[in-house]
Symmetry: C2
Subunit: 433 residues, 2 copies
Amino acid sequence: MSAPAVVSVRDLASHVGEVVRVRGWLTNRRKSGGLQFLQVRDGSGTVQAVAKKDSLDAALFEALSGLGQESSLIVDGEVAADPRSPGGVELKLTGGQVIGTATDFPISNKEHSSGFLMEHRHLWLRSSKQAATLRVRARIIKSIRDYFDSRGYICFDAPMFTPAACEGTSTLFEVDYFGEPAYLTQSGQLYGEAGAMALGKIYTFGPTFRAEKSKTRKHLTEFWMIEPEIAFATLDDVMDVAEEFIETIVQDVLADCEPELTVLERDLDKLRAIKRPFKRETYDESVARMEAAGHAFKHGDDFGAPDEEFITHGSDKPVLVHRWPADIKAFYMKRDPADDTRALAVDVIAPEGYGEIIGGSERADDLAFLEEQIAAHKLPKESFEWYLDLRRYGSVPHGGFGLGLERTVAWICGTKHIRECIPFPRMLYKIYP
Amino acid sequence: MSAPAVVSVRDLASHVGEVVRVRGWLTNRRKSGGLQFLQVRDGSGTVQAVAKKDSLDAALFEALSGLGQESSLIVDGEVAADPRSPGGVELKLTGGQVIGTATDFPISNKEHSSGFLMEHRHLWLRSSKQAATLRVRARIIKSIRDYFDSRGYICFDAPMFTPAACEGTSTLFEVDYFGEPAYLTQSGQLYGEAGAMALGKIYTFGPTFRAEKSKTRKHLTEFWMIEPEIAFATLDDVMDVAEEFIETIVQDVLADCEPELTVLERDLDKLRAIKRPFKRETYDESVARMEAAGHAFKHGDDFGAPDEEFITHGSDKPVLVHRWPADIKAFYMKRDPADDTRALAVDVIAPEGYGEIIGGSERADDLAFLEEQIAAHKLPKESFEWYLDLRRYGSVPHGGFGLGLERTVAWICGTKHIRECIPFPRMLYKIYP
């Protein structure tokens, strides 16, 4: 007799009445008389497998009864409808095989310290919430790429090694590049601008690095960023894309990841509310709101976490804040023709306290202005000659934004700690495993 | 009157008879009496715009006649069918506007040295072959992700900062990580194995780094690699996936990128031939073929470029070579139960001299064996404790492979130099722009 077909736990519901094979790991087990109820996960989901002493090989029944958490096994059984179980089915075992035993798996259902869990990240990944978060992350990545791929953007990978800093040198990681200093990229944007001049619309999507000495729940030293860049785009175009983009990824996740969001106990109504239009206001309007409400804030400063929470307070959607004081924004941003002290920049602030998830702008397209800015910011001009060339040869209005992937995953999953939103987080003093 | 709708050059053919707007750059221009023929590229393609002195504003006609290569402009015109032009249409100008002038664009149709072109990579990207190569690259990336996403694999980003070397330390880039040494990843595989145990089937897809002091046309210091890892997979499963995967991406590119492949003068029949099954042979069979043909090769050595060319000579498809001498392969590979001197490894060698594009294996799943290997290779065991945990807690047979993205792009595009297959290549002594 040939072996039953291997079926993913996630697909079991369409195999009711069939005998199938599931390959996975034991997450939990309970006995009741001549019955064993085994929780088996295969990475796509978890199913209850019922072993009945009378109808199973005695040696196998015995082997199963001694198995520790996270032992690996193959189980064959008939798929039976069971409305009480999360997936709607259970498995009535007819056979199986133990593959690899495990005893004293370090992570149990009891409370562990976050330090302990991070030291065991390679095993913690198997926990249902961690696995669900990473499945949502993968769905978000697909949604991001589909959004741009289906609208004529070309995926354009910016380099990791760069000769110069884009936004200050204090948070750069330095690498010995065959005897010369090189830096790990903080943003693919400047390269993306060259790409937009060649290909019209591009997006970069890769790791970026910040050597920030902050140990907050919102900081990673290595995180993924997506940065579209669009030739002939104005700030309004950039804001339109950002809005539609955010709505699309949230609604895609809602449509496909309800099982994961349920594991994560996410309030789905909060996500259903993320529909355009979002609120847009200028920085000055934001500050006026703070002043009117008695929220302490110094006009001209950048927003901190409490200010971001104020901005979205009472709103169930992201808020777009635009036209920022130019002197707290990057050198490459275009000034507002109506007010030279303002940069044509936008931050998108997520609701529920998740803070800034997008920063974008229309880029300066005038050569003389950019040369002044590079001098004023004391940046090494020779490192930016290539970037200035983009204004020397057929300059056009253009703009784009950067979205931090992990912050977006944290928001959509309702997860407080960004470190759970990437498989192996890198933080201050933390690179193992 | 409102402005005409902006249309991508690639989409013009479905707007014949309409007046549309194209925004882009001038790549070439020729005059004939009262006519100007302007080649305008917008990143999606190039169209000929015909300016007729009689029917155009005199100042605009004059401005156009003085425009240098790569000046940016907006042109409005009626789309007319023109079977002689590559896109099947041309544009009869009715209006327009010069946006940014350019004079003395550094790259012309004449021959330039590769050093010069690499120094001007940010502008060279605008050349038709470079842009076509990057569009094919983007299509390949999409195909790779779609292949895995649609088959239940979870995208699982491995870290860039790692505490230890996966395959020897001589080609590692070292980073100062807050006072501790860290290394840039050479492969996401070991992390991917942890992911497969948590999620069943995963793929990593990100930059990897090799500080190789070789200046060949096949080496980059920074390149993108895709690495699927599959729980419960054997070497045969890995080879089946690799074959189907390669066939899928080549056929996807053929289906969608004929305009780009035509620009690149690629022989499409060579790509049409990439259909399963591919030839599979053991390392020993490969060597026997070499010996029989009088091709000089030392049994037990790794293949060099001439050997790889021999292996695929006379074949129009990739060749899978499996069961390699264990002592020239990585420590984590499982041994062949039928011959302990052989690793259950496979290399996939592309035809036409493009060499190895995939390396894969079934992984060692036995704790004691792996501990021996780590000792024998003098690797620091403490750095691998987490990896050994994967064998301590529910070990399962598993395997996967790594595909080098840029080599695959080079092969599919028929491009000799891998440096043209990534937007900003990083090579020995080369990180600008």
